[in-house]
Symmetry: D2
Subunit: 144 residues, 4 copies
Amino acid sequence: MGEATNILVYRTTSRVIYGDTDRMGYAYNANYLRWFEIGRAELFRHLGLTYRQIEERGIYLPVSEAYCKYISPVAYDDLIVIEASLDNSVRGGVKFDYRIFGEDGASPVAEGYTKHPCVSREGRVLRPPQFLRDFIQQKLAEIA
Amino acid sequence: MGEATNILVYRTTSRVIYGDTDRMGYAYNANYLRWFEIGRAELFRHLGLTYRQIEERGIYLPVSEAYCKYISPVAYDDLIVIEASLDNSVRGGVKFDYRIFGEDGASPVAEGYTKHPCVSREGRVLRPPQFLRDFIQQKLAEIA
Amino acid sequence: MGEATNILVYRTTSRVIYGDTDRMGYAYNANYLRWFEIGRAELFRHLGLTYRQIEERGIYLPVSEAYCKYISPVAYDDLIVIEASLDNSVRGGVKFDYRIFGEDGASPVAEGYTKHPCVSREGRVLRPPQFLRDFIQQKLAEIA
Amino acid sequence: MGEATNILVYRTTSRVIYGDTDRMGYAYNANYLRWFEIGRAELFRHLGLTYRQIEERGIYLPVSEAYCKYISPVAYDDLIVIEASLDNSVRGGVKFDYRIFGEDGASPVAEGYTKHPCVSREGRVLRPPQFLRDFIQQKLAEIA
């Protein structure tokens, strides 16, 4: 029961549309950051607190860093699996790690991360609020 | 000096990037609506009143209708010409007509229009405000 | 049992992500054309012939016209319903009609259409191929 | 005249449109990767060899890694400056570094990089071709 295994992780699927592809025939690189957003939004929803609800409490989580490694191309109409996991070890904000899988699901076609400070409506950086820390701790306890 | 010639029109250019194309090898259909936005924004800027300034005065011009006819495909790295013209005959809002030209500039590769009501910050439909009607009338008078 | 009621129609859902919204707070107008694409792709899939399979047979259906009427704004994180129906009365191509519904599903928040000629890999306009006409006729017969 | 100063660098401008923003009021994170593409494409064009021409010689440079650090938000209608520089020290491919500046141009609002292997039409990873290495060496010599 080491901490390393206590990670909040969720997988969701998304379909690659024509508008996601480029003339090389595969999904365009910028769209992966949209998929990362889908991944973390669905992880939050699965945990029981949507990102919309977080914003309604006055907390915003803009992206301060994004990284993506493109391993294999993703083709039109593929049903990809987006896996997002919450890395709770980051001080002062939230970090998500992502893996994207193709239709076979065997090995990731892309992986990456995003970092997010907690920010007020006016853009001021805040300490992660108590309600958010409590929520994450409770969810981690549930799966411990 | 018939009314028909008194139109506010402006041409701007934009480059088709990889991210605009799809696997058919040409620009994806939804991106033309982005180009329409560029066209009307640059027309406003050219006239001396940016859309940002209109919003700063509490007036929003969301799109209520959009139409595009795709005549010839537009290829990667093409320098397109976006022509936007303000159709002042529409009651209760604003209409823009667009023509997009390819690198040769001879005949349009696409054409279309968008319609926009005037809306308050809260989303309430308003009569076009006096400052906007005056501005358009003045610009029309200048080119008459 | 008039022909008018024999329409091929399908509804699918999609989630509005942050990247779909603009600073007015609602989904940006160009994204509706992406949703239209999702709608017709899922209609084809539901009928048993995916658009990818159509392309694999050498037939492409680029968009020649697109129209959208934006009735009510669509907000972040809304689960929209995209309804696509195949209008089989169009000669020489394919037309789809769309209605987009918000979370309540009561009245459409947007509606529109797209038209598509049948085109070869090289971009030459073709008569709709026999396999596609047969397929559509068969599906219409099934629901008659 | 150390090697460190011999970098191929170019600055181009781009306008933030409504469709680039999200409901937080600023440019959405994925769009920065589009701006990175604009930056490297315009650097190539400035050097005298467009990316389209590279592809016409059978060489593709897909993105294998992308990183972006978002330093300050970028607002609607801002005229951003995209600076791309070619990092020639990378073996077996091409790396670009980017800095994005806001309207004041003082300090970057974002920075990042992309890595690109050289790939054949069929997706096979190649050694950077002689013509591309010669071209880059010649351009570096010109500014030495």
